[in-house]
């Protein structure tokens, strides 16, 4: 469902050019749970950003459902992100002055949908992550693990085909990390969600179906 062909990414600063990714070929199948591992600065997050259409590759083609998106305009890419992709970030990225329910509703704001429908879907997503009782709280009133569960509810509320998680347990203790991992596993197994997860934790990676290793901007098998 998501294909990267000959992807390279370089960043040009005033004097030097840094190559973040070089000639990456990757295919993510529907329903897969894939982990991405590698040392810091090897290009994992850049890879995830390109997969999530947050960043453009310098070279190569990104295809969603076998359609290359390189000629798509901002509006079209925004729609793809909205409908097909859900993001989970290491530092949660919740908007602090929005209530939990409003944070979860956020992706639905960019769809043609009534407020009532949005509320119903957001409540259902929060129920799925076990936080229905907290819908009127603000993010700062929740623990780290709970905040990440709100972020997961936000990622799944629009029923995207693929979830991209950038070190989702990186800011959590082992107990909370386990909780989040279990939640992702349930989403993958029960709802058949496709998940790509960047992680530093070998134990977490072992729990996924496939691990991609990145080193110096290249895939190593």
């Amino acid at each position: 469902m998501l294909t990267l062909k000959n992807i390279s990414k370089s960043f040009q600063t005033e004097r030097i050019e840094t190559i973040a990714l070089s000639n990456i070929n990757l295919h993510i199948k529907k329903g897969e749970f894939v982990s991405v591992m590698g040392p810091s600065g090897c290009g994992k997050s850049t890879l995830l950003n390109i997969m999530g259409l947050l960043d453009h590759p310098s070279e190569g083609i990104v295809a969603v459902d076998d359609k290359a998106i390189d000629s798509y305009k901002d509006k079209h890419i925004a729609r793809l992100r909205n409908e097909k992709i859900g993001f989970i970030f290491q530092s949660f990225h919740l908007i602090h002055d929005l209530r939990v329910i409003d944070n979860v509703e956020l992706p639905l704001l960019y769809r043609k949908m009534s407020a009532k429908e949005r509320k119903e879907l957001a409540t259902a997503a929060l129920e799925k992550v076990g936080l229905k009782a907290r819908i009127h709280h603000y993010p700062t009133q929740l623990s780290g693990g709970q905040q990440q569960r709100v972020a997961i509810a936000r990622a799944i509320v629009g029923k995207p085909e693929i979830l991209l998680a950038d070190e989702p347990t990186g800011n959590l203790d082992s107990h909370m990390s386990d909780e989040i991992m279990k939640l992702l596993e349930t989403l993958n197994q029960k709802d058949n969600a496709t998940i790509v997860m960047v992680t530093h934790d070998e134990e977490m990676a072992k729990r996924t179906e496939r691990t991609i290793r990145v080193f110096d901007g290249q895939l190593v098998c």
């Binding site: 950003n49 960043d55 901002d74 925004a78 992100r81 992706p107 704001l109 960019y110």
Partner: protein
């Protein structure tokens, strides 16, 4: 979607209370000053009092006399002799009215001293200007020609001298002369300086005729035509007369005369860009300078607000990143930020309008500007609304554009 934009904007305002306050303060203060100035300007350029037919009149209130070398120059108001020998030869105006200009005088009435303005006029004065009479009437051509001791007073004078009693029919002493009041008019706002006075009497009641020998004096002339377009021709005729056929006092050694029959705008611009030896009133320059000043006045707080808005971007960059990641397009974010900016400016603008109405009301009530009357005016309101929108756009669009174009990756990292 619009409702969502508005709700989000509201939440942002509440989130950044101090920022919102600073923004509102800046906008409302700037707009208040502009609104007060434009209201006063409006009442000057679009009078509501006796000069409400301002399009039908042009005023001659300045004369520059000089010799050929321009090393001996006299400037000031017009003398009666100059008016009689030159102005009265003009063919274009339907009517010409002259008056002495108003001067302050103390009136003693029933043991009480009151300081009032007096203006000596002809009977045409009441035809070329559009006075509203509360009671009584103006003096007629006959009364003027015969030098009858009759007077018209304003409401203020009636109130000051006679309390609640009617002034019509009462006697009024000016110097050694006693006038019978025959009419009472509404108070004339101070910005209507051509009509302005408290008491008006025929100049034919003057005790002496010395004034008839003066080339320069304290006289003003008003040219009138029922068709405003023809008044421009009257000015041309006047300037042509000054250039080619002017009659001046030989004993004065003055050979050149500079003057003009001005509209309100021309009078003001001539006062500002004073040029002794020219017939030009420089009103284009005046308008440009005024527009430039207004723009500058608005630009400075706008730049400030752009700065505030851009720095606020840093704090909101993570939110921008999240919104983009979850499907907000650049256009949607641009709309969001522009709506935020316009709502904030609108709130500041409404506050500014309310403040300016309060200030204008207190100027009226304080008597700081005599007979000032600044009613709520739809034209000023529209000017205000326009200024608000310009302000909102100047200060909002650039930061909104910059914010919305932020790359989601950069935004999520918290920088730009």
């Amino acid at each position: 979607m619009l409702l969502n934009y508005i709700i989000t904007a509201w939440k942002v305002f509440l989130r950044r209370k101090f920022f919102t306050f600073i923004n509102l303060f800046g906008i409302s203060l700037t707009l208040m000053v502009l609104m007060v100035i434009s209201t006063i300007g409006e009442s000057y350029f679009y009078p509501k009092g006796p000069e409400k037919n301002t399009d039908n009149i042009r005023v001659i209130n300045r004369l520059v006399l000089t010799n050929e070398a321009h090393n001996q120059t006299n400037s000031g108001r017009l003398g009666y002799k100059f008016i009689k020998e030159n102005l009265f030869r003009l063919q274009t105006p339907e009517l010409i009215s002259i008056n002495s200009g108003s001067y302050g005088t103390s009136i003693f009435h029933q043991g009480k001293k009151t300081k009032l303005l007096v203006k000596k006029t002809d009977s045409n004065f009441w035809k070329v200007l559009d006075f509203d009479f509360m009671t009584g009437r103006a003096y007629s051509d006959g009364e003027f020609n015969e030098g009858k001791f009759v007077a018209v007073v304003n409401q203020h004078t009636e109130q000051e001298l006679f309390g609640d009693a009617s002034a019509v029919g009462q006697k009024l002493s000016l110097g050694n002369q006693s006038f019978t009041i025959i009419g009472v008019v509404e108070n004339v706002p101070i910005v209507e300086e051509v009509a302005l006075s408290d008491i008006w009497v025929p100049y034919t009641t003057n005790a002496t005729t010395d004034y008839q020998q003066e080339t320069r004096g304290s006289w003003d002339a008003i040219l009138y035509h029922s068709n405003p377009a023809i008044l421009e021709d009257a000015n041309k005729e006047y300037i042509n007369l000054l250039k080619n056929e002017v009659i001046l006092d030989v004993s004065d050694n003055m050979t050149e005369a500079y003057s003009g029959a001005y509209t309100k705008l021309e009078s003001l611009s001539r006062e500002m860009f004073y040029d002794n030896y020219s017939y030009d009133t420089h009103e284009e320059l005046f308008i440009s300078v005024m527009a430039g000043l207004v723009l500058l006045f608005m630009l400075l707080p706008s730049i400030n607000m752009i700065n505030l808005n851009v720095s606020r971007m840093m704090e909101r960059s993570s939110e921008i990143g999240v919104r983009k990641a979850f499907g907000a397009s650049t256009k949607q974010l641009l709309m969001q930020f522009i709506i935020e900016s316009i709502l904030l400016t609108l709130a500041g603008g409404i506050l500014g309008i309310i403040l300016s109405l309060l200030i204008l009301h207190s100027i009226e009530a304080s008597g700081l500007i005599p007979y000032a009357h600044f009613p709520f005016n739809i034209r000023v309101f529209l000017i205000g609304l326009f200024l608000i929108l310009v302000f909102g756009l100047i200060s909002g669009v650039y930061p909104a554009y910059k914010m919305s174009r932020l790359s989601p990756v950069t935004a999520l990292k918290g920088g730009f």
